[in-house]
Symmetry: C2
Subunit: 139 residues, 2 copies
């Protein structure tokens, strides 16, 4: 006894699962770990942010994040910078190589997005964007 909303819900979950699986496959080929690519992705999209905020976004404790950021600093992908007003806080930001990595990864996403919406009209793509924007705002 499935209604329209169940279908929408399951379509969203299916999309999420497929994207998740795609992401893992893509990451496996590029030498970096999934959490690290995840961090690069978030910093690339949102800009520098505090450890706490970043940990929240990827869903790990700050302890876990500290270890990951240590590795990424060593690998030259990110750097730690002092927070201007709150000296307890630290801002994590992409280095130039980190930014390059983000852009390359983003290109793959862009290609996927293009492929998935290849049969969409301009108007449909615009509407899809509007839907996502409204949903993200609500999230």
């Amino acid at each position: 006894m499935k209604n329209q909303d169940d279908h929408l819900n399951h379509a969203i979950i299916e999309f999420y699962e497929k994207l998740s699986s795609w992401e893992m496959a893509v990451v496996k080929d590029n030498g970096f770990s999934l959490p690290q690519v995840h961090i690069v992705e978030i910093l690339g999209l949102n800009g520098p942010m505090r450890m706490k905020e970043l940990a929240g976004k990827i869903g790990v404790t700050t302890g876990t994040l500290t270890v990951q950021i240590d590795k990424m600093v060593k690998a030259g992908l990110v750097l730690r910078r002092a927070h201007e007003t709150d000296r307890r806080s630290i801002l994590v930001e992409l280095t130039d190589p980190g930014q390059v990595m983000f852009e390359e990864h983003d290109k793959l996403h862009m290609q996927l997005t293009t492929d998935l919406t290849v049969q969409f009209s301009e108007a449909e793509r615009a509407q899809m964007l509007d839907f996502f924007n409204r949903i993200n705002k609500e999230f």
Copy 2:
């Protein structure tokens, strides 16, 4: 110099990140591990499937999956069943408690979907569903 398609791409990634973060938060509260909930979710949506296929969907090796399924069998969430025609293969399926767990988790997703689209008209929700269906088909 961002165009429309870049925005759509980034809106999709943002949605994915938020959903991913939401999923982690939800899972953390219910006592089971993320991979296990993930498996329940996939089996609930797609029905019984072979180890190989399931491993592909969640993006791990079959070796990793064997260990997880062992735990889940012990926990009473899934069971192993012989494949009818291929005796090398094994079908993994949800037990009744596993199905219950799926349905409860699915309810949370449903609530989220409802919340996120609360300002959508009926027609917009229908169109959104159509978009996701077409994208998932292409994926």
